[in-house]
């Protein structure tokens, strides 16, 4: 998009320069200065502008080339820009030094004009005849500034993050000169474009200067001032609106003023007063609209801030609770362990189970975990041969609190089955059935079939305590455990309706489609 703008600007200026050359060749005044009493664009100015336009186009092309070629295109662009700088610099030096050389008029002589007398231009082409086709200082400075702006673009910004970009400053200088001249034409302020040989700028020149400045800015949409203008942040919105207003309000005002005074609807003084008022009003409206947008952005930022603070508090709460639970687990496991090795294996196993439960919850952004996932994590994935475990029942999404406590209970049951019960080396099968009844109560039936007659299935003291505590204490459910001839049988009844609790992790659960 921006490369397109740059290309369009470059191409337009190239066209203007060609038309001006054509005007000199064909002696058509309108092509050189638009109006008969306006200043003319000199052939050397046209040449310099064409060089700059080529510089912009080459830069635009360089951006689309492979890295290896980009350098060469960029060098060509810098070469073209340097040519324009040389032309501008020579003109300034000649104007200051008062030199008269034939270089200024060279272009005119080449196409057959006498340097002192320009046929078809009775007024001397706005002083052009007398000066032998030399451009004004203002034009020369604009050319130098544009050239430097383009050359500066070619250099990789040495100081990244530096706020001042000298090439942008050059472009602003060129823009100011161009805008000043354009306004001069608009307001009919002859001083700016006529009769003062060293400040005159022709209409096509000032248009070209503005176009080239815009084109050069567009070559780097992500750098310096353009990055502010193109950003999505409130500052970017502000910059875009202000710039649009700064360009449009005076332009429309001036047009209205010119039309109004020409058609004698307005006295010029009244028109100028009206323009000043319109400009103030326009900026006030843009300022207010932008202020409102900024306020809105600030308000939404404050909302996000509050949400983050509450999230941090919630996180702090959960971390503390988890640490407290971990410490309690270490304390309780150490109380029942008979050796350090036993403590090590049981404690680490339980902490790993807590970690897996946490992982599953975090993966769901703390919204909850499916029962099927819990059973997979805590049972199926722990067994060498998953076919020894038969799961049946409708899957259900469990809220965070329920899933954590249930994970602990299921882990204890599975560990016990692996050590002593139906999942141990002696062979056997485990059946887990689950369903949710009409009162939103989850029923889980855990049935071990040990394939052999067993006498006692030992469940270590704290393990069974932990299962019971998780179900009856934390989940306020019921637990029935019994040992039958084939093995352990366990029935859980867990109410799923959310408990009224001060923290935010209680969420409604949702039934999943089967």
């Amino acid at each position: 998009m921006f490369a397109l703008v740059a290309g369009a600007c470059g191409a337009t200026v190239l066209a203007i320069a060609s038309v001006v050359w054509l005007g000199w060749l064909a002696q058509m005044r309108a092509l050189v200065s638009v109006m008969h009493d306006w200043a003319t664009m000199k052939p050397n100015t046209a040449t310099a502008l064409a060089l700059l336009a080529m510089g912009v186009l080459l830069h635009a092309v360089a951006g689309r080339r492979a890295a290896a070629w980009r350098m060469w295109w960029t060098r060509l662009a810098i070469g073209a820009s340097s040519g324009a700088i040389l032309i501008g610099a020579y003109s300034v030096a000649a104007n200051i030094g008062g030199w008269t050389s034939r270089i200024d008029s060279f272009a005119l002589e080449v196409i057959g004009y006498d340097s002192d007398e320009i046929p078809g231009f009775p007024d001397g082409g706005g002083g052009a005849g007398r000066l032998g086709g030399r451009m004004s200082n203002a034009t020369a400075v604009a050319l130098i500034a544009l050239g430097l702006g383009l050359v500066g673009l070619g250099q990789k910004s040495a100081k990244r993050g530096s706020r001042f970009h000298w090439h942008e400053a050059c472009l602003v200088v060129a823009m100011t000169i161009g805008l000043l001249a354009l306004m001069g034409y608009a307001f009919d302020a002859k001083l700016l474009y006529q009769f003062k040989p060293f400040v005159t700028i022709s209409f096509p020149t000032c248009l070209s200067v503005l176009l080239l400045a815009v084109g050069t800015f567009s070559l780097r949409p992500d750098g310096g001032a353009m990055s502010i203008l193109t950003s999505d942040l409130p500052g970017g919105v502000f910059a875009r609106r202000t710039l649009t207003a700064a360009l449009l309000v005076p332009l429309i005002g001036v047009l209205a003023l010119i039309v109004g005074t020409r058609l004698k609807y307005l006295e010029p003084e009244f028109g100028i007063m009206l323009l000043a008022t319109m400009t103030s009003l326009g900026f006030a409206i843009v300022g207010m609209a932008t202020a409102r947008a900024l306020n809105r952005a600030e308000a939404s930022r404050a909302t996000v801030d509050r949400a983050r603070t509450s999230l941090m508090n919630e996180l702090d709460h959960r971390v503390k609770n988890n640490l407290a639970a971990m410490l309690a687990l270490a304390d309780l496991t150490s109380r029942e362990a008979e050796s350090l090795d036993e403590f090590r294996s049981t404690f680490l196993g339980r902490v790993r189970a807590m970690a897996r439960a946490h992982e599953a919850l975090a993966a769901s952004r703390w919204e909850g975990v499916r029962l099927g996932r819990i059973l997979d994590l805590m049972v199926s994935e722990m067994v060498d041969d998953p076919s020894r475990v038969a799961l049946s029942g409708q899957d259900v999404m469990l809220p965070a609190r329920v899933s954590q406590a249930l994970c602990a209970a299921i882990y204890e049951l599975a560990t016990n089955a692996l050590k002593y019960g139906a999942l141990s080396g002696r062979g056997g099968r485990l059946t887990i059935e689950h369903e949710v009844d009409g009162q939103d109560v989850l029923h889980v039936r855990w049935t071990e079939d040990c394939n052999e007659e067993i006498f006692i299935t030992p469940v270590d003291g704290f393990g069974i305590h932990f299962i019971r505590g998780s179900i009856t204490h934390e989940l306020q459910g019921d637990l029935k455990m019994g040992f039958e001839r084939q093995g352990l049988r366990c029935e859980m009844r867990i109410p799923l309706e959310p408990h009224q609790k001060g923290c935010a992790d209680i969420q409604t659960f949702a039934r999943l489609p089967q």
């Binding site: 702090d316 640490l323 407290a324 639970a325 687990l329 304390d331």
Partner: protein, 127 residues
Amino acid sequence: MTFGSEAGAELRGKKVLLVEDNFLVGLSMKSMLRDLGCEVTGPIATVDQARGLAQQGDFNAAVLDVNIIGGTSADVANALGEKGCPFFFVTGFASKGVLPEDLAGVPRFRKPVDEQSLRRALEQAMQ
């Protein structure tokens, strides 16, 4: 050790109500309180149960978690206050405003608590 045994003597046989909805934390605190010589009722997980016990029971002190099943332990604290039973809070919650203003003066301890701070908190509360 002498200090420990003196303190133990002070807390021996005291009846303590323990309200904590996390089973592991509750059980661990219960073990600590028992080691200090207290007779522990709990851990209790819900507001309803804890309030009922606070109104009926005759406790020397109470240890309250702030967020429990059914709400906060503010109601339990009020019931204990009416009976003149000393209590304090143990909480993982850093933010204020969870408990009503009139309970702001009650001592609060951050989770996790160890045996030493639990003993000191009990002694201070019962003074």
